[in-house]
């Protein structure tokens, strides 16, 4: 395949949509630092450009190579997660490891590794096996091991996203409906057990979520302030750099987990809906690619990645609007934070490679 052909087949519309989000993100971060490219907005834009270049590079990698390596990726991810538990850093939690001065959160790319490994597993199983539950058990193991390790860090938000991303692949692979509902019931039954595993601050977050007014200055502070900021934004917002909640520092973590709130305060309902639509478009665009590619591996991978991006957005927005407890989840491409952005761009790169090197396209 010629370079020209490859460039032609790259899903540029994905990059365009991503570019819009990065632009919105940079503006929000510019506002978050009271009208300055320092310290966040400038670096955010630069990272995004590097990320987009990465997508193009990944498009040149043969997709069959990615398929061959998928178990290796999973093994590597698990090893790094293990390393985090041993040598990780963070305040009372170990989520990050430092590589050459850069903090890196391995639980993010682990999501991709799980999706690839699951896609590989299902694509290599003869179709008739897919009726028996036994053949789904290895798939659940692929999800469960990294899930448990991330819960242990503890990082409930990322762990749940990894779980959903993995389950979506299992679901798409054709898990019979009776098992789908059976598993749902099992999950509901496991909730009390999970509750016992939670750390005190995590329990506090859940309790606060259920009743935020009980502790307005403590654990409920973030969510209360976030709702005030969003709600006071109104339909068109208070205007760029004019959000008093954010500018006066009432809103915590406004450059990371609560960036959506800040955009809501300054650009209102219209600005927020715009972001939601862009995310939905990205998800649907990737799902559409999954319908077009030929191999089962490519299909499952694309569905997984598309839904992963969606879950990122959903968990974050649901959290800042008070629909979910504050679990600590970034809004990728908009939030300041390299690892989630990198993960999303690598995901796009894999999708690009899938469509570029698809048999049916040539």
């Amino acid at each position: 395949m010629t370079v020209f052909k490859i460039l032609l087949r790259i899903p540029w519309h994905l990059l365009l949509l991503a570019g819009i989000l990065v632009l919105v993100g940079s503006l929000a971060l510019y506002s978050a630092s009271q009208g300055s490219w320092q310290p966040w907005a400038g670096r955010h834009a630069v990272r995004a450009i590097v990320g987009m270049a990465l997508v193009v590079c990944l498009a040149f990698i043969d997709f069959s190579f990615i398929k061959r390596m998928s178990y290796v990726f999973l093994a590597a991810a698990i090893l790094v997660l293990l390393a985090v538990i041993v040598i990780g850093t963070g305040q009372g939690v170990s989520r990050w490891i430092s590589i050459g001065g850069m903090n890196f959160q391995p639980s993010e790319p682990a999501k991709l590794a799980v999706i690839l490994a699951l896609a590989r597993y299902f694509s290599s199983q003869p179709h008739d096996r897919m009726r028996s539950f036994v053949w789904y058990l290895p798939a659940f193991a692929i999800i469960a091991v990294p899930f448990a390790m991330i819960v242990k860090q503890p990082d409930l938000g990322t762990a749940l996203m990894l779980l959903f991303g993995g389950l979506v692949v299992v679901f798409s692979a054709g898990l019979p409906w009776q098992y789908v509902f059976g598993s749902l019931a099992a999950v509901l039954a496991a909730v009390p057990l999970l509750w016992l595993q939670l750390k005190a601050y995590q329990k506090a977050r859940v309790m606060t979520f259920l009743n935020p007014e009980t502790d307005v200055l403590g654990a409920g502070y973030q969510i209360t302030q976030s709702k005030i900021a969003l709600g006071s934004g109104g339909f068109f917002g208070k205007g760029f750099l004019m959000g008093s909640q954010s500018q006066l520092n009432y809103l915590p973590e406004k450059q990371t987990d609560f960036v959506f709130t800040m955009i809501g305060e300054e650009f209102g309902f219209a600005g927020n809906i715009f972001i939601l639509l862009i995310y939905l478009l990205i998800t649907i665009a990737i799902l559409r690619i999954s319908f077009r590619v030929n191999s089962r591996f490519a299909q499952l991978t694309c569905i997984g990645i598309g839904m992963m991006v969606f879950f990122y957005m959903f968990v974050n927005v649901a959290m800042v609007t008070g629909l979910l407890p504050v679990v600590g989840a970034p809004l990728p491409l908009i939030s300041y934070g390299g690892t989630s952005m990198l993960t999303v761009f690598i995901g796009f790169g894999i999708v690009a490679s899938a469509i570029v090197h698809d048999r049916r396209q040539s």
């Binding site: 054709g174 709702k227 969003l230 109104g234 319908f291 839904m307 649901a318």
Partner: protein
């Protein structure tokens, strides 16, 4: 066939992919609906909340109530103290500014971290406290350089001070910053910049009365976060003042007399003393606490002041006029930031200065317990005033021999002469006839074995043993030998110096079960005490015996009576063995107290009431390892009462 199956699978996947796409769209519209609800439907409500956020609420600390002595002299007050604040809004680089400030005032790593955390959490226009309790020097240095620092400001607040220093430390207790534990129990403490909360003593016991209620002011800020004006919402309500029954002057004299004991003060400056200090770790620990009293004992050795307790109380009103526990500590150490160095010194001090010996120190009462036995026996009709028993110097009971303190014995004794000469054998015999149950009952009526209810935290109740007590605590039955040992206030029996003072006050009062109190009664002392319910005839005999202790030619404290012109006193000595005397030691001859290590010497106790004719005061003295009750503790009581009576005129 195979192809068809694969196609099926593919169709399933496509169907499910479409389902997921639909699901995503559905979830997105839920989010959209939620945003609509918050941003459009409830916009007005949140707009109002956001406006309210433009007011910052600041809590104003109330002034804590002061503590006075019975003549309105200040025991605990509030002094102005200065704090350094920083406003992140006006600071370019907070970290750098803090580092620069650290060059001028003392800032710990923890202070800096706390400021950075507060800056991250709160709105940027809110002042954050950097340091409290700035010294005059720091204040001057900062004032000169303040133009160099944008965003710093000074605040004035109150700090608790104890102008009498260590003198009333165990009575007032102290106030110190609110702890995490207290916040757990009382959430409202968290956001309130109180002076601190009482941790021990009256400061703790009357915390709610003294604390007051915080006020609130609102600071209006513009959209840029600059304060425009301050609105006072709620005025702070000061805590109420409290007048205590303590007399600082008596307290001072009592502390000095107790601490000096029978020792001679030395000049600290001389080379010889300095050399001796270098070798003596206990003395160094004592001096490190800021106490410069060093004394010389009869063997010419340098020693720290005596430790122990003195309680002086009014036998009618129950008011405690002096309550000394030595060694003492300076409560001012706790009010600001307690230095680890000071905390270590207080805790590693061999004589535990933080312990209030008067209410929480439990001592065997020794012979001062003999009054209890005597009263129980007379009341029960076991003996009368003239019932006599012979003291041959010891008493056989089963296989055991119980000795009298006097080797040769006292000869024929009755209850008054037995008190006067503190004969042990007479009391042994009387106690065996009376039985521990009646003795215990009398002890409780006199205030022993129960907390007195003076209202100081951590008060101990002592131990008055009985059949039931021993079964419950040791799982064994009571033996007559234990009645014998208990009758002279040893064995299991324990009492606090305060309880001994209460016992003496009740014996002197005769009518009411006086209980001690620290808070001065307003107006005429109204007695609301329960009746004492002890046979007045028995009390008269016992008081006569206590009088003989001071006056008879053989009385154990005959050399230490309060001057007759001041009314004289009636008392009882107590010398308590700390270490059991073995048979071998008894035969070899007992080593003199002064030749034993300090911790093995006897405790010296003395209780008394004065004046004899119309009793007014009761006193109890415990000198830890002081030697003998007569020669060490009695003169302490006499000297304190002399000062007290002289002031009465």
């Amino acid at each position: 066939m195979f192809r068809a199956k694969t196609k099926d699978l593919r169709r399933t996947m496509t169907r499910r992919g479409l389902l997921l796409a639909g699901g995503s769209a559905l979830l997105t519209s839920i989010l959209g609906a939620r945003l609509f609800q918050l941003q459009v439907a409830q916009n007005n409500r949140y707009q109002r909340l956001s406006d309210r956020n433009q007011f910052d609420v600041r809590i104003v600390a109330p002034t804590r109530g002061r503590l006075f002595d019975r003549k309105m002299r200040l025991l605990a007050g509030n002094a102005e103290s200065f704090e350094l604040y920083i406003t992140p809004l006006y600071v370019d680089d907070l970290q750098q500014t803090l580092a620069a400030l650290g060059q001028i005032v003392e800032l710990t790593e923890r202070d800096i971290k706390a400021v950075l955390l507060a800056a991250r959490k709160g709105p940027s226009f809110r002042d954050i406290i950097v340091r409290n309790d700035l010294s005059q020097r720091e204040l001057a240095r900062l004032a000169v350089r303040s133009p160099l620092f944008g965003g710093i400001s000074f605040g004035k607040s109150l700090r608790r001070i104890y102008p009498q220093g260590s003198l009333a430390c165990h009575i007032t207790g102290y106030v110190s910053p609110v702890t995490a534990r207290e916040i757990e129990r009382n959430q409202s403490l968290e956001k309130t910049p109180y002076l601190g909360t009482g941790k021990v003593g009256v400061e703790f016991a009357h915390e709610d009365y003294l604390r007051g209620l915080p006020g609130r002011e609102r600071i209006e800020v513009n959209a840029k976060g600059q304060p425009i004006r301050v609105l006072r919402d709620v005025d702070a309500m000061s805590g109420k003042d409290l007048q205590l029954s303590i007399d600082v002057e008596v307290q001072l004299q009592a502390a000095e007399i107790l601490r000096r004991g029978q020792l001679t003060p030395v000049e600290l400056g001389t080379m010889q003393v300095q050399r001796a200090l270098a070798k003596n770790s206990e003395l160094r620990a004592h001096i490190a606490l800021g106490d410069d009293l060093v004394l010389r004992d009869a063997k010419d050795r340098l020693v720290p002041p005596e430790s122990g307790a003195v309680v002086v109380m009014d036998i009618h009103s129950g008011e405690v006029i002096s309550l000394v526990s030595a060694p003492m500590f300076d409560p001012n150490l706790f009010t600001g930031t307690l230095l680890t160095r000071d905390w270590r010194r207080l805790n590693s001090h061999p004589r535990t200065p933080l312990l209030n010996r008067a209410t929480s120190g439990q001592y065997a009462p020794g012979s001062t317990f003999k009054m209890v036995v005597g009263l129980a026996a007379i009341e029960a009709g076991v003996i009368s005033k003239n019932t006599q028993f012979n003291c041959s110097g010891d008493m056989e009971l089963g296989n055991a021999t119980f000795h009298c303190w006097r080797k040769g014995g006292h000869g024929m004794m009755n209850i008054t002469s037995a008190l006067e000469q503190s004969c042990d054998v007479f009391i042994y015999k009387v106690a065996l006839k009376t039985g521990i149950r009646k003795i215990k009952d009398m002890a409780h009526r006199l205030g022993l074995g129960d907390v007195t209810g003076i209202g100081l935290p951590g008060e101990k109740q002592g131990i008055i043993p009985s059949h039931e007590w021993k079964l419950a605590n040791q799982g064994r039955v009571w033996t007559p030998g234990e009645t014998v040992v208990s009758s002279i206030g040893q064995g299991y029996v324990l009492a606090t110096p305060l309880q001994l003072a209460v016992m003496t006050a009740r014996i002197a009062n005769g009518k009411e079960a006086v209980t001690p109190r620290l808070v001065k009664s307003i107006g005429d002392p109204v007695s609301d005490f329960a009746p004492l319910d002890v046979d007045p005839y028995a009390l008269a005999i016992i008081r006569e015996g206590m009088l003989e202790v001071m006056n008879s030619g053989l009385g154990t404290a005959r050399n230490y009576d309060l001057d007759k012109s001041l009314g004289g006193m009636a008392g009882k000595t107590g010398t308590v063995q700390v270490k059991r005397i073995t048979k071998a030691q008894r035969e070899e001859g007992i080593v003199n107290n002064i030749d034993r290590p300090w911790a093995e010497r006897d405790h010296a106790l003395f209780v008394a009431f004065a004046p004899v004719k119309r009793p007014r005061y009761a006193i109890s003295v415990v000198v830890e390892h002081g030697g003998s009750g007569s020669s060490t503790a009695a003169p302490v009581a006499r000297d304190i009462l002399t000062q007290l009576m002289l002031k009465q005129g």
